[in-house]
């Protein structure tokens, strides 16, 4: 009996230490904000998309004339893919009462929307904020939430495919059924390609290790172009998709700008860096006194067309001159 009292006492002490540590840290971390804007960026996992939008947010803040450390402090939090941690992280951020919270990716937006009611939340890298539950339309949404939807320009992509390779009847993509963004993007591409009379073949993939196999299986169904949609999983393993495409002589088109350098022939890109900049522009309206409730959701303001002529030559694709001279077209040799 005596020992059980002792052990219980030990546990109580341990928990008490943990709680008091938390309280102490909380107290010490709340000072030194004097007049500076306290900003927080919360990410769900590590991916090229979240990194691009983070650099966009940092650049955007300097573009609106704010200096890091002098005018604002930006704290970056990353849940490293763990949902329970994400919940705690949002509690922690809410407790520190920042002036504004940036969030990237769908789960982060959802937890923030559920838990935070009195601090402005600006999202980006969310394909469909409506599906995520942040509102019923781009203008009717949760009062403290606004942000940038990064739904890809699928309509634009299909137009380019028809221009470059008229007569295309089958294209393919890999997608990740586990990601709300991915499924939404896939169905958008399907919608616009079917309107143009092009069949879209898809292969689902559940982990990065399966991507090469998925790409090989996609090639088996003989698409004329692999038109890879955007999601966290395939964007972090895009190199293996491009490799399979190259060895099978099927051109790869993409939606993320840095894929052009990696060997994608054509990239129609909602600029994820720009998504960060745009999020900052919405945030600026809030700094200036606007209510998030009155700021409608927006699409990313900039779409880039990136053409990799060297990759195009490998597949015998010739771009008509008038296309190369279009506005917003960036060419790499």
């Amino acid at each position: 009996m005596k020992t059980s009292v002792k052990t219980l006492l030990r546990v109580v002490v341990l928990i008490a230490i943990a709680i008091s540590l938390l309280l102490i840290i909380d107290k010490t971390s709340q000072k030194d904000s004097e007049g500076k804007l306290q900003l927080v960026l919360i990410q769900y996992n590590d991916s090229p998309l979240s990194e691009l939008s983070q650099s966009g947010i940092e650049d955007g803040l300097s573009q609106i004339g704010l200096k890091a450390g002098k005018d604002y402090d930006l704290t970056v939090n990353n849940a490293q893919g763990d949902m329970a941690t994400l919940n705690l992280m949002i509690d922690a951020v809410a407790g520190s009462k920042p002036d504004l919270i940036f969030v990237t990716s769908t789960p982060t937006l959802q937890v923030a929307a559920n838990k935070i009611k009195d601090i402005p939340v600006v999202f980006s890298v969310v394909a469909d904020p409506i599906v995520a539950g942040a509102g019923t339309s781009f203008t009717e949404h949760l009062p403290n939430v606004t942000g940038i939807s990064t739904l890809g320009d699928y309509e634009g992509m299909v137009k380019w495919i028809v221009l470059i390779r008229p007569g295309t009847i089958k294209i393919g993509t890999i997608y990740s059924p586990a990601e709300a963004n991915s499924v939404k993007n896939m169905s958008e591409l399907k919608k616009y390609s079917e309107l143009a009379g092009i069949e879209l073949v898809t292969v689902p993939v559940n982990s990065t290790t399966e991507v090469t196999d998925a790409a090989l299986s996609l090639i088996e169904s003989r698409p004329e172009i692999v038109c890879q949609i955007v999601d966290n999983l395939t964007s972090s393993s895009i190199a293996s998709i491009i490799k399979v495409c190259q060895s099978n002589k099927v051109p790869m088109f993409g939606f993320v700008s840095d894929q052009s350098k990696k060997g994608a022939v054509l990239v129609v890109s909602r600029d994820y860096h720009q998504a960060g900049v745009d999020a900052v522009n919405l945030a600026k309206k809030i700094f200036d006194g606007a209510k998030p409730a009155d700021i409608p959701f927006e699409f990313v303001s900039k779409t880039n067309i990136l053409i990799n002529l060297k990759a195009a030559a490998q597949y015998g694709i010739v771009f008509p001159d008038e296309l190369l001279k279009r506005e917003g077209v960036i060419i790499s040799e």
Binding site: R10, L22, S29, D82, M83, A84, V111, N114, G133, V183
Partner: protein
């Protein structure tokens, strides 16, 4: 101090997961990875039913039943087809991934504007503070399930189940079908885990098909932390240990979060904290022993 309350609440919700993992890990001596599928199964069943307009309490109970079936399946694959326990769990977990996608119809189901257990508890207004109301209610739920589990493991059936893990030959000689015990045990374990997932989804406001990733590891960590600080003298101390282990673990994560370090270091710091929490009790014992000899 909403982080503290939030950390304790999540710790309590995941204590149900820890209780489930305690059954498979401490009683049957294998890490049942079905947990990663069944926690999401619980979340997706509850979320899909709630969105379809089913009463949240009913939805949560059905979610538990879903976990029960998943666990039973792992048990059947393990015992009737003689497949290694870990692999049986992997098989069911893998299958559940697709099943969860089918249940929700998509990868992520928001519950932000739905009536859930959590909103129902909030509307009870038991305390001045909504967060405290939720915390106390989850504490109540965990206590009830912890006590029921304790009482169950003390019954004849429960004793036979524990004996199945300790000494299968002996218990078979007494005429108990060990296969049935394993199937029932894993079913109960995964029912608890699915309950944890159902409540977690309603607490965080959505179910996501990826939410189970890593959960087995955290559950095991909770059970082992609990064992280290409370000891494994009796079945009761193991159960209390699993719950407290989960609480301590989430508090440690909360401290790591509040530390304000480079976000890339989060998991490293978490690991170091857990290491310290595991080593500390042993160290204090050593010191005490030394103190006695000096006297």
């Amino acid at each position: 101090m909403s982080l503290l309350v939030g950390a304790i609440t999540i710790g309590l919700i995941l204590a149900l997961l820890a209780l489930g993992i305690f059954i498979s890990f401490k009683i049957f001596n294998f890490a049942d990875i079905t947990a990663e599928g069944s926690i999401t199964l619980g979340a997706s069943i509850a979320a899909a039913l709630i969105v379809a307009g089913v009463d949240p309490v009913t939805a949560t109970i059905i979610a538990m039943f879903g976990g029960f079936i998943a666990g039973a399946l792992t048990g059947i694959i393990h015992t009737k087809f003689n497949i290694n326990g870990l692999l049986s769990g992997i098989l069911v977990m893998t299958a559940l991934y697709s099943i969860n996608l089918h249940i929700m119809g998509k990868s992520n189901l928001p519950l932000l504007s739905e009536d859930t257990i959590i909103t129902q508890i909030e509307s009870l207004n038991l305390m001045a503070n909504k967060e405290m109301t939720i915390l106390l209610s989850t504490l109540l739920i965990v206590s009830v399930f912890g006590i029921v589990l304790y009482l169950f493991l003390k019954t004849n059936l429960g004793t036979a189940m524990r004996a199945t893990g300790n000494n299968p030959q002996m218990i078979r000689a007494l005429g108990v079908n060990t296969n049935h015990m394993i199937i029932l045990g894993l079913a109960i374990a995964n029912a608890l885990i699915a309950l944890s997932g159902a409540i977690l989804a309603q607490f965080q406001g959505f179910a996501d098909v990826q939410m189970g990733i890593g959960m087995l590891v955290w559950g095991l960590a909770s059970v082992i932390i609990g064992e280290a600080v409370i000891g494994d003298k009796s079945i009761g101390s193991l159960i209390v240990g699993a719950v407290l282990g989960s609480l301590i673990f989430r508090l440690l994560v909360a401290i790591a979060l509040r530390w304000g370090m480079n976000p890339n270091d989060l998991k490293l710091i978490t690991a170091i904290f857990v290491f310290i929490a595991l080593v500390l009790p042993g160290l204090s014992k050593k010191f005490k022993k030394r103190g006695v000899t000096v006297k």
